[in-house]
Amino acid sequence: MSSDVTDPLTAEIQGPTPREMLKARARGHKGLIFGMGIVGLLVLVAILAPVLAPHDPYAQSLMKRMAPPVFLGGTWEHPLGTDHLGRDYLSRLIYGARVSLLIGAVAALISGVIGTAMGVAAGYFGGKVDAVVTFLINVRLAMPVVLVALAVVAILGGSLTVVICVLGLLLWDRFAVVMRASTLQVSRRDYVAAAQVIGASTPRILLTEIMPNIFNNLIVVITLEMAHAILLEAALSFLGLGVQPPTPSWGLMVSEGKNMMLFEPWLVLIPGAVLFLLVLAINLMGDGLRDVTAPEGRS
């Protein structure tokens, strides 16, 4: 008798688990693999910068300025040439990865914490909390990010810390919007009602019932905002208001090379290309994660 009942059950269990299915989908997603590969590589480069960089990124040598990269007839001493002050371009590019990734990650983290807290609170409690949060989101959306960032940086002066804080405090809107919508959906599910009925505390419900079920969306937004923050830092640095020299930053490198753009285009093209690659990779990774984890992606 019992074997009749257990047979179909065990048959089901013997099939792929959700986690295995997730892994299989991830392996089949080319964009995700490419994106993660590139991001992983750049993270590795950033961490190992002191080992990988062939020269000191701050060592100036005016006599060797603007040496061309190897593929334009330069030497292997400076594979990507030197900049307008004779600093090794490859080393600056490698150290610049640190700045970009650090700003992207920390800014996304700060805004993620702010936005998620607001969004989840609004979605779960509703009513007045929701009204206040929605109002704050609207206020935030009414402010153009670049303009506010420019103004704040102009007043406080540009530095790594200021740029990270400004971006972190400005980019939470998408987190709040997405988290609020996801929480609204999830909080009406039966398991949340069940948890409420058995008398679980609110923090417990939020942490163990709601958060795990909206985590997928959170990861996607984090990647998008990370790319956004990296681009904004580059834009601010390009305008001379972001990271200050001599700190290597890709945006700053583009800005420093721009005067020679007509004659030495590679000064702008190299950091521009790397910036493009990083942002593309992060976006592909985000898209891939959405495809792989989002319910509508599960065919």
Binding site: L62, L85, F263
Partner: protein
């Protein structure tokens, strides 16, 4: 071979694309020029920028003119002059000169202009240019006397430079802001349009008097403000600009290889230096109040490398707080050779074995500023790099909030040390040193009419300034003028673009 082919085709393509519009320009008689910096006010007494000097020389005239080739003083609005005593200069004025608005030029204009600008409350931007004059009085319609506050040997030089004559009736009514928007002078060019921050249109003054400046040949000049050098060059290639100047040496070198452009390099009187807050205005504990720190800064900078690799052209290394050709700018001073180890040792002796972090300000030539900051970084001084507009930095500097900054001074092309040393070391708002002894010596040097005594006191002042390392003078500037083959122009070494000397080939 491949690159050679590529380059020649590129140049041929550029040449082909520029030929058409450039021709049209010569035909229309309009010379298109670019300014890099925005001009605060066209009124020459109310700006302190090079662009302002260029316009001043085109729109207005001084009483006297200094020939930039021979350095000889020739009468312009005045025909002759004579010292009545040490502080009274009598000038005979030229008759039959009219301002662009038709007002006749006579003694009243000179009296009004001098009395207006010499009055400190009227707020002329660079007081040094005018504050040696007390007042002016009319003797008859074409004779005036200028009364000096004190003996001032450089008077003729200043009268042939920054002191230009304004129409009394018009200026009384329009004031500096009106004059800035609708300038009226006696000069070879009259202004037909001013759009602040965008462009100025000048037209030749058909009835220009028989001035030593010569007669204007180019009928119309359109000056546009284009801050970005790449945009300027792109417009030069496309033919919508005919002349650009202050072109960075890197770009000028490349442009010089192209046939259709003339690149002329000339030295200028501009000196680049680091100003340090030795008076402690930005804070009592400011490291620059210590002599050893200032010496360390001086030793940390590789001036020769800056000149060879960045400035190039006719630039030279300087150790004096003035331009070497200026009268009184003696060169027998303390020179600080490049020695980063010594700099580090001096910092350690001064109590900064690990260096310190300081705000480093600059307003122009970001590339030079970065290179200089990098030399400081190399000896352990961390720089918080701040790039500001000139007016903003000047304001901060006047309030004593700038610990160290990369500054430049072009002396208004006045060939006398007083135009630079006395501008910055006589306890004015921009003096970051406030040395009483230097002030005393400069007072003697500025007012003495005995050249030997002047030299003696300038020597004392300049030697003390360099011994105490109040500044770190670094290099003189040069400027590159790039113009199309159709423009005929020979630049002068004083960094003044003279439209009146230009013509079409």
């Amino acid at each position: 071979m491949k690159t050679f082919l590529f380059k020649t085709t590129a140049i041929a393509a550029l040449a082909a694309s520029t030929a058409m519009p450039a021709l049209a320009d010569k035909a229309s008689g309009t010379l298109n020029v670019a300014f890099t910096k925005e001009l605060e006010n066209v009124d020459s007494y109310f700006n302190s920028s090079r662009e302002g000097v260029v316009l001043q020389r085109a729109i207005w005239d001084g009483l006297i003119y200094r020939d930039p080739e021979t350095n000889e003083y020739i009468g312009n609005l005045a025909t002759s002059w004579e010292w009545i005593d040490d502080t009274t200069l009598e000038l005979k004025l030229r008759e039959g000169v009219t301002f662009h608005n038709g007002e006749a030029f006579n003694a009243d204009d000179v009296v009004f202009t001098v009395n207006y600008v010499a009055k400190e409350e009227n707020g002329v931007k660079t007081q040094r240019n005018v504050n040696w004059m007390k007042s002016a009085e009319k003797v008859d319609d074409y004779t005036v006397r200028i009364l000096l506050k004190d003996k001032f040997p450089a008077a003729i030089e200043f009268l042939s430079g920054p002191v230009s004559m304004y129409p009394n009736e018009y200026y009384a009514e329009a004031g500096p802001s009106g004059m800035g928007l609708k300038p009226v002078g006696t000069g070879p060019y009259k202004v037909t349009e001013v759009v602040p921050g965008q462009h100025f249109v000048l037209e030749a003054n058909e009835s220009y008097h028989d001035s030593p400046k010569g007669q204007p040949e180019i009928a119309k000049i359109d000056i546009r403000t284009i801050p970005d050098v790449n945009t300027q060059m792109a417009e030069l290639f496309s033919g919508s600009l005919d002349l650009i100047w202050q072109v960075p040496s890197d770009q000028a070198e490349k442009l010089a290889t192209m046939d259709q452009f003339t690149v002329a390099n000339e030295s200028t009187m501009r000196v680049g230096y680091l100003q340090m807050d030795s008076a402690g205005r930005s804070g009592e504990d400011n490291p620059f109040t210590k002599l050893k720190v200032r010496q360390a800064i001086n030793h940390a900078i590789n001036r020769q490398e800056l000149v060879d690799a960045l400035l190039k052209g006719k630039s030279k290394v300087v150790y004096t707080p003035c331009f070497p050709s200026q009268f009184g700018c003696i060169q027998d001073v303390t020179e600080y050779e490049y020695d980063p180890e010594k700099a580090k040792a001096l910092l350690a002796e001064a109590g900064y074995p690990d260096g310190f972090t300081i705000e480093f300000y600059a307003y122009r030539d970001r590339q030079y500023a970065e290179a200089i900051a990098s030399y400081l970084n190399a000896v352990g001084i961390q720089t918080d790099f701040k790039m500001l507009q000139y007016s903003a930095l000047r304001e901060l500097n006047m309030n004593g909030e700038v610990p160290i900054s990369f500054q430049t001074w072009g002396s208004y092309s006045i060939n006398d040390a007083s135009a630079m040393v006395s501008q910055f070391f006589k306890h004015g708002a921009l003096d970051s040193t406030r040395d009483d002894e230097v002030l005393e010596w400069l007072n003697v040097a500025d007012s003495s009419t005995n050249p030997d005594e002047r030299i003696e006191y300038y020597t004392k002042a300049i030697q003390k300034i360099t011994q105490e390392a109040y500044w770190a003078p670094m290099f003189t500037y040069n400027t590159n003028y790039v113009f199309t083959g159709e423009v005929d122009y020979t630049p002068t070494p004083d960094e003044v673009l003279r439209f009146v000397d230009m013509s079409w080939k």
